[in-house]
Symmetry: C2
Subunit: 375 residues, 2 copies
């Protein structure tokens, strides 16, 4: 029996929306087509009203008369459906069954305004993601943006995280390791500063993807430098700390294939050894996972070679950082499933882990009850 | 005929020290052993007096009575010889003929003190490198540290660069893209801020290796994050600018295998295309080169696969960032020549380029007159 689109739809549709169930996303049995979960999708195609709202909000920082109340944003279901057609088309064409879906990363803009602005904006964005997931419960499951703000304790994000997970049925959050937007003025992720948030993540049993937002520093191009630097930076912070002794169940996904990390896997193994740290597998591979947003075959091959299959989650970041077609292959740069499929030596079991089983585990898809309904 | 150590020694010894010659480093002819030039070595084994001097200099920032005059540093030739034995041993054991040698990168500390402190410290460090190269002209050729200081125009570094190249026979410099030590407060490398330095680099016809120093930001581990982030950041700055139209002969070496860049080569090709920039080869591969400081075979394989052989310069960064032996191979992590030798599909011509011909070209070794003698 094939793991048909219809059976996925029925299983997911029922569980992810209406019926509380510990088996929200049914596991395919042996021999069935491997389910494909993309753990890294952003709502980059949101209706333009959202951006207009944000621009008004930013204008309101200087001229409070222009600041829009959150209730002033009106986007119809039809507009949301329309805005998701490109995402759905790519899902169909590329064979993705489910996208773990979050607000546009560059749009989070935690460095803009204060914590109140960040909270209002985050709630608007998260509510919109919830509506996407409600309209297409088979295709999308939500991950939230946190109302971070530079210099403001992450403890202030706990309520919004809890709201998104408990009331909206979200399965994780994006955590910005540098809410200043490229000035890196807050403490490292291993500082107690972040612990209240980690405690809540553990209590809710959901992971965080480490993801910066736009760069406010002219040195850093966002998608070409700041994103990858943050990935690399976070990994090295984890390597030098005992964070996971304190939080053995805390789970982080490092996106963009882990930044520079897998390419420099030998360097990291060597640095850990020089510092008398445990081997990487013991030190952090129970807690740190990498996605597959690497946009060429040699990069994906390297990732699959050096990082254990248990620690790799399929992702494409579509529709995202790179939107064009690679003239060398004739396919979209970010059609990452093609690269993985092209690695002949990758075994079926490892493929299954990478394409869906790891995402199920890390995001707890199998043990999540469905959300209670619209707020 | 083999390209014997003796012939290298005679050729280099004569030319690099006493006799001005446009053929300072003789090219081996076809069939000879490939000469191996390591373009990235730091004087990490300097006598402890140097560090004591630096600590006194730093103490002098608060208590000027402790500030040491540069002339107070006394290191004998014998101490220098002794301090270089480990470097020479590794050269012999690993088959390196010549190391392009510069002051310890983490020690540059451009963020400490002001421009005057940075200048005094840079001169001391550069003079010491010159003495190394004088004592072992066959083994080492110098690259200088620049007296950069955060917020101070790079034009202020021109005199020391000129002194090092013209009087000390150095073949390049290390250029810190973030003299603030991880706060990234100066303009990007593509800003006119840097142009006077680039004009001098072009006039002297020497390259710069992009290399940050220690991190003053608790978010960034130096060798595990800051170094690699800077490499990635610089590349993306170049990708988004027309710097090399302004300076067609400007040459940069991006160390540590290019940070995250080759692993994300598809991403960079795609970003350039999305931004309507020319293909990378046309945009920057006449001007930007990567070294091979990648400490495991899969990483080196990736680098050799995606970056043209014309743009790769052999390097190990020894004795440097990672000092231990890889338990998986039984060899030093930073014995990078082994990885390259292990890539069976790498042709002889490409090997020759990577091991020495590219370094000869980029650092202008063949067209350099030897230095005029000790100052």
């Amino acid at each position: 029996m094939n793991f048909s689109r219809r059976s996925v739809l029925q299983g997911l549709g029922a569980a992810a929306w209406a019926i509380p169930s510990p088996l929200a996303w049914p596991k395919p049995s042996a021999g069935e087509r491997i389910m494909v979960i993309d753990c890294h999708g952003h709502y980059t195609t949101a209706p333009r009203e959202l951006e207009t709202f944000r621009q008004d909000q930013i204008a309101g920082l200087k001229d409070p008369s222009r600041a829009p109340p959150s209730a002033s944003l009106h986007i119809s279901d039809e507009e949301i459906r329309e805005s998701l057609q490109l995402q759905l088309k790519f899902q169909r064409e590329r064979g993705t069954d489910l996208t773990i879906f979050s607000p546009r990363a560059a749009g989070m803009g935690h460095h803009i305004g204060d914590a109140a602005v960040s909270l209002a904006w985050s709630q608007v964005c998260n509510d919109l993601i919830h509506r996407c997931c409600t309209l297409y419960p088979v295709n999308f499951v939500g991950v939230c943006q946190l109302p971070q703000s530079p210099g403001v304790p992450p403890a202030k994000c706990v309520a919004e995280l809890e709201r998104c997970v408990k009331s909206l049925g979200f399965v994780g959050c994006n955590l910005n390791p540098d809410p200043s937007g490229g000035h890196w003025i807050d403490p490292p992720l291993t500082d107690r500063w972040w612990y209240p948030l980690y405690e809540k993540l553990c209590e809710l049993d959901v992971p965080a993807m480490i993801h910066v937002s736009a760069s406010d520093n002219p040195n850093f191009h966002a998608t070409g430098a700041h994103y990858l630097n943050a990935d690399t930076t976070a990994f090295m912070q984890f390597l030098t700390s005992d964070l996971f002794k304190e939080f053995p169940n805390l789970r982080f996904v490092i996106p963009h294939g882990g930044g520079a990390v897998p390419y420099h896997w030998g360097r990291y193994r060597g640095l850990a050894q020089d510092m008398k740290r445990p081997p990487l597998a013991e030190l952090l591979l129970h807690n740190v996972f990498f996605d597959t947003c690497v946009y060429h075959l040699p990069g994906i091959e390297l990732l699959l070679k050096v990082v254990p299959a248990d620690n790799i989650l399929f992702a494409s970041e579509m529709v995202g950082a790179v939107r064009g077609i690679d003239p060398e292959t004739g396919h979209y740069f970010d059609d990452t499933k093609r690269y993985i499929d092209a690695v002949a030596w990758l075994g079926e079991e490892d493929k299954r882990k990478i394409f869906s089983e790891n995402a199920r585990k890390v995001y707890g898809l199998d043990r999540r009850a469905a959300p209670a309904g619209p707020r």
